[in-house]
């Protein structure tokens, strides 16, 4: 029993019983199985990923195909619904289910890209501030303060409109606006890691600063990076939806959930499903990302709970 796992260490307790010490991996796996939020969030995120990947298989129709004779057919739970369009159609007769399914792709691609930009900027600044301290720390704190003072939605809107609305502009504009939290978290973690003995040992051994940052500091930030990345994707998806809702983000006819809510808004009193369906999809995906991020934090760095 004690040797069921090669990494499980065992000890004879002296009473003829063997006490099994679980390995760190086993501890984390056990915590994961018991963490309801992590499981729910993980399932939502994995399902969304699968839907995004298999969108062409899952979507019953072309999400861009308009059919003016099939406009605003209600969803299947409504008495006038048909199985041909399970979630109904919009005001241009496009199949709503297909648009929601392809919307997963739009949200995930945008969320991931924004997160990558934001995390790169935030981690670089945070690690520099945390490792070097002193003047560098003051400089980074200053940049973070300036960034926080600027209202992100307003600045992003202005940038998108002035440069021209395309998915790339939306991604870059938001990526350059939401790195502040990543910088703050990475700075705090780097400060903690910097005072560890192994960093002092690397310094004493004469390792170059770049090498210490890349091989001693960065790998130990991995847990935190995953947590911040997951939470930032959620926030980025919400911001993209808000911009698209205001008509200054992703442009039609792209099936972005925020844009779908914006297009359905004019008909929402008579056809509320036009906004409840994409809104629920948006809410669930962001909820899943947040639950997953919080869950990973609870499981990997339980002492870092806010």
């Amino acid at each position: 029993m004690a040797t069921s796992s090669p990494i499980a260490r065992s000890l004879d307790a002296g009473l003829g019983e063997t006490v099994v010490f679980p390995s760190p991996g086993q501890i984390i796996r056990r915590r994961m199985r018991r963490h309801k939020g992590l499981i729910i969030g993980g399932v939502i995120v994995v399902v969304t990923f699968l839907v995004a990947i298999f969108a062409p298989v899952l979507a019953p129709h072309d999400p861009y195909a308009q059919n003016l004779s099939q406009r605003m057919i209600p969803p299947i739970w409504h008495e006038k619904g048909t199985w041909n369009h399970p979630l109904g159609t919009d005001n241009l007769g496009r199949d709503y289910l297909s648009r929601v399914v392809y919307g997963c792709r739009v949200s995930l691609i945008i969320g991931f890209s924004i997160m990558l930009i934001a995390l790169t900027i935030g981690t670089t600044l945070g690690v520099l501030a945390g490792y070097f301290g002193g003047k560098m720390d003051m400089l980074v704190s200053f940049i973070v303060t300036v960034r926080l003072a600027l209202p992100p939605v307003l600045v992003a809107l202005a940038v998108v409109v002035l440069i021209g609305g395309s998915m790339t502009v939306v991604i870059v504009a938001l990526g350059f606006l939401i790195w502040a939290r990543a910088a703050v978290v990475m700075r705090a973690s780097t400060q903690q890691i910097r005072s560890q003995d192994y960093v002092a040992a690397a310094q004493a051994a004469g390792c170059s600063t770049i090498r210490i940052l890349l091989t001693e500091i960065l790998p130990n930030l991995a847990d935190n990076l995953v947590v911040v990345a997951t939470l930032e994707i959620g926030r980025a998806i919400l911001l993209e939806a808000a911009l698209s809702f205001l008509g200054m983000g992703v442009q039609p006819p792209t099936p972005s959930w925020g844009l779908m809510i914006s297009e359905g808004k004019d008909f929402m009193f008579f056809q509320p499903y036009l906004i409840t369906i994409p809104g629920t999809a948006l809410f669930l995906l962001v909820l899943g990302m947040n639950l997953l991020g919080d869950g990973i934090r609870d499981v990997t760095v339980p002492e870092g709970r806010a």
């Binding site: 939020g37 200053f142 303060t145 300036v146 926080l148 003072a149 600027l150 209202p151 992100p152 939605v153 307003l154 600045v155 809107l157 202005a158 940038v159 409109v161 002035l162 440069i163 959620g234 919400l238 939806a241 808000a242 809702f245 205001l246 008509g247 200054m248 925020g258 809510i261 808004k265 929402m268 009193f269 509320p272 906004i275 409840t276 809104g279 948006l282 809410f283 669930l284 962001v286 909820l287 990302m289 947040n290 639950l291 919080d294 806010a306």
Partner: protein, 305 residues
């Protein structure tokens, strides 16, 4: 305390100058602001005229200093759309945004502090779980969508509240909930974790051991300490809410500066956009300064850090 205040003041001034440079450069992102102002069908003479009129032909530094000098006096030039001074247009509308921001802050604090306290004195019970659920939902809820759902349910189906406009207090209820809900998670988590920390400290144990009433211990000894970071957060959150009002104001057609900013961006009314970005940033800088000072005043440990 005075040294600390002066240091913070200096930092805030530096941030303010940097932010003003950013908002000045923002409208120059498109390249030539004269072309953006003139619109799509303008002739090259019209563009030249606008370039001269707004001084876009001069060096950037000169333009910035001139703009900054005027902005300090509250002069942001004329809006080409309204043919009115920008300051007057914003002045007419800022009241609505301020009212919405303050009401949202009050709503968020009024909901989250009692919930945070309840969650902290009964951790891991159903109360704690309800509080956690509300905060997790709040972080995932798109505020504009929440606003639209409220309009359908409360405004159209139940006919309880008016759905757009600013005529009465009732007009502000739904926008306040939509915007305020966004602040609840942060306040509640901070109250809960602060209370949990304070409640496990020695002076609470002593207070209870000498037989003080539980309510008195809770409010006089624990909450007063736990609330300090919440006060600081309140100032920052008010800044975020003013910035986030652009989305909510356009959902409920509230004619505040958020809605104005949205409309102005759409019609390339750049002086107005620039002034609103600067104004909101400056309010945020002032709010964080105030929150830092209040914080240091309430908690002497911060001053010496």
């Amino acid at each position: 305390m005075i040294t600390y205040t002066l240091k913070r003041l200096g930092l805030a001034a530096l941030v303010a100058v940097t932010v003003s440079i950013v908002s000045f450069m923002l409208i120059r992102l498109s390249g030539d602001p004269a072309i953006a102002l003139a619109g799509e069908n303008a002739t090259s003479e019209q563009i030249d005229f606008i370039r001269k009129q707004y001084g876009f032909d001069r060096p950037l530094v000169v333009q910035y200093l001139e703009w900054g000098r005027r902005a300090m006096r509250g002069d942001f030039g004329e809006s080409p759309y309204f043919n009115q001074p920008v300051t007057r247009i914003i002045g007419d509308r800022i009241g609505v945004t301020m009212k919405l921001g303050l009401m949202s802050l009050i709503f968020a604090v009024a909901v989250s502090i009692p919930m945070g306290v309840l969650a902290s004195i009964r951790p891991n019970t159903w109360i704690d779980r309800v509080a956690l659920t509300i905060s997790v939902m709040g972080q995932a809820m798109p505020s504009f969508w929440f606003g639209l759902i409220m309009i359908i349910v409360l405004g159209v189906w139940l006919r309880l509240l008016p759905i757009s406009g600013t005529d009465s207090f009732a007009h502000f209820i739904m926008p306040t909930i939509a915007l305020g809900y966004y602040g609840i998670p942060a306040f509640m988590r901070l109250t809960r974790s602060g209370m949990l920390e304070v409640l496990s400290s020695d002076h609470i144990r002593t207070a209870r051991a000498k037989g003080l009433r539980w309510g008195k211990v809770l409010f006089k000894h624990a909450l007063r300490n736990a609330i300090i970071p919440v006060v600081a957060l309140a100032a920052v959150q008010l800044g975020f809410m003013l910035g986030g009002s652009i989305v909510i104001e356009s959902v409920f057609a509230l004619h505040g500066i958020g809605y104005l900013a949205w409309e102005s961006i759409g019609r390339r009314d750049l002086p107005v956009v620039q002034a609103i970005v600067l104004l909101l940033s400056m309010i945020f800088v002032a709010l964080t300064l105030i929150s830092d000072i209040i914080n240091a005043f309430l908690d002497p440990r911060i001053r010496v850090k």
